[in-house]
């Protein structure tokens, strides 16, 4: 894979753009089964992140992730702030000091991120949360690397899994988060957090793909 700090920052800023472009989508998904602010929350957070990332090129990726995590925690609020924030902060630990990361670092990053989200939110896959996009994505990553796919092909499998996972949340009732208050009424609606997780992973794929050719 081989992503430098500068490239990592490019990816993170692209994620910011994606979130901004999908602000309304995420807010509307949250409106159906939550309180209709997920897009607003996420956009607030990643806008702040994008600002913070200017002139961090010289920093190592661990510091970059820590900054991203802190910035999300301090700016987002709601459920998604602590969750995505914790994800990045935990991930920061496994890449601290690194100026460049490869696909194996990405495995550690996703593993730590998911651990962090589970630790904070006490949810499990099937609860209709972001985990339903992230966990299948992680599993796809493991296989892809076992199968020695190229970074870009591996990431493609990862984002496909995330997409399927997000779509799957339509079929289930929420057990965690606001949507859980709706019980079965939440069935038929795609989870906003799972969707933002997919969008983030897809942006990683798209951007790395561009950077690689």
């Amino acid at each position: 894979m081989g992503l430098t700090s500068t490239q990592t920052i490019i990816v993170l800023k692209e994620i910011g753009k994606t979130i901004e472009d999908n602000k309304t989508l995420l807010t509307e998904l949250d409106g159906a089964i939550g309180d209709g602010d997920h897009g607003i929350n996420m956009n607030k957070g990643f806008a702040a992140v994008t600002k913070k990332l200017d002139n961090m090129e010289s920093e190592d990726i661990g510091d970059i992730f820590k900054t991203v995590g802190m910035t999300l925690v301090v700016n987002v609020g709601g459920a998604s702030g602590p969750l995505y924030g914790t994800a990045f902060m935990k991930a920061a630990a496994v890449v601290s000091g690194k100026q460049e990361i490869d696909i194996n670092d990405f495995i550690k990053i996703m593993d730590e991120a998911i651990q962090g989200i589970k630790m904070r939110g006490k949810a499990v896959p099937g609860d209709k949360t972001m985990l339903d996009a992230l966990e299948p994505a992680y599993n796809a990553l493991i296989c892809a690397v076992k199968e020695k796919l190229t970074t870009v092909d591996a990431l493609e499998k990862v984002k496909e899994a995330a997409f399927e996972g997000a779509k799957y949340t339509k079929k289930i009732a929420a057990k965690k988060g606001r949507a859980s208050y709706l019980g079965d009424r939440s069935i038929g609606h795609q989870d906003p957090g799972a969707t933002s997780s997919y969008l983030i992973i897809n942006t990683i794929y798209e951007t790395v793909k561009k950077l690689k050719d």
Binding site: D35, D37, V74, G81, S180, R185
Partner: protein
């Protein structure tokens, strides 16, 4: 969206500015933080109570900052729980030697953000404990889910824990009495209209002229189910059946009642509901010790109401009526 505001981005800060301008005798605002702090905080030897959550529930929570209730209230964006740094600042501003109790409504976001703040404060050597309010019986309680929401019943926790703190109770004593209030409180609400988050500009759901949502939260989300509008008596019977089904009461037991307006429902209607609540409780031989009717925990301009019942014992009774002096809750 018809609102008397300037810009959605600035509504929370302008609201807080208006609050401190209105009530300087009660509290101040922490500079650069959306935190309302009791004027004389930190009160030495007194456990400090910190609550808060998303904005849009006014007078909750800032309106309850003052003698006999909260020491600080943290205001997040509308319907979005505040961030850990904000809560941490509130804790630092009011923390006394006696410690701090966080009163958290049971929402994933609130719980996680307050938890993180608690961790930060503890790392800072501050004595902090927390409790989570979950009085909404519309939501099934289950170990597999996040469980029930905290709604209007939270105000009972503020009042009673606040009185215990004012009486210089210890952190553990205050936590214990707060837990008792939580265990003895059940609430449930309905809505006749949705509400509009300023930043969103439109409602989360639409209701027909003849429809209502049952089992409402306080964040503009849909209720647990939808039904045709019923009469005030039928609505009240339904709410009380669910409430008493969850927290059964025996004849001669004493309760406090709160008929809470969600924002756009006039007192006239809340009193009509109370007249039925009172009638039903009387039939069952349950004694109403104190009744509160008004907008205590709102959901912006949502039309609707909730009923809360708190089972009382001697300790809770005396703390419930103990002197309190805050902009939105006073007891002489």
């Amino acid at each position: 969206m018809k609102k008397v505001i300037n810009k959605p981005e600035s509504v929370v800060s302008e609201m807080l500015a208006g609050m401190v301008a209105a009530h300087p005798e009660y509290f101040k605002k922490l500079e650069n933080f959306n935190v309302i702090v009791r004027k004389d905080a930190p009160v030495l030897g007194k456990v400090a109570l910190v609550s808060g959550g998303g904005s849009g529930h006014e007078p909750s929570h800032g309106g309850f900052v003052g003698k006999g209730m909260l020491d600080a209230a943290v205001a997040g964006e509308v319907f979005t729980s505040p961030t850990p740094d904000q809560v941490f600042e509130a804790i630092k501003a009011v923390a006394s030697d006696a410690g701090v109790l966080l009163i958290i409504k049971n929402y994933t976001g609130d719980v996680m953000n307050f938890e993180m703040a608690q961790e930060l404060a503890q790392a800072d050597g501050i004595k902090v404990d927390s409790i989570v309010v979950n009085d909404d019986v519309a939501v099934e309680n289950s170990t597999y889910t996040v469980g029930r929401r905290g709604i209007a019943g939270t105000v009972f926790v503020h009042k009673i824990a606040g009185a215990k703190a004012e009486a210089k109770g210890s952190l553990s004593e205050i936590k214990a009495v707060a837990e008792k209030v939580i265990a003895n409180t059940a609430s449930m609400g309905i809505a006749l209209t949705p509400c509009i988050v300023p930043a969103a500009g439109k409602a989360n759901f639409t209701l027909g002229e003849d429809e209502m949502e049952i089992g409402m939260g306080i964040h503009g989300e849909p209720g647990t189910h939808r039904d045709k509008i019923k009469s005030a008596d039928e609505i009240t019977e339904h709410l009380l059946t669910k409430i008493l089904g969850d927290k059964p009461l025996q004849p001669n037991e004493e309760v406090a009642v709160m008929i809470n307006g969600l924002g756009a429902t006039p007192l006239m209607e809340l009193y009509v509901v109370n007249s039925k609540v009172n009638e039903i409780l009387q039939e069952k031989g349950i004694k109403v010790y104190k009744t509160f009717v008004g907008n205590y925990m709102t959901s912006l301009e949502m039309a609707g109401c909730s009923v809360s019942i708190l089972k009382l014992d001697e300790e809770l009774k005396s703390l419930l009526i103990a002197t309190a002096d805050t902009p939105a809750f006073k007891a002489l």
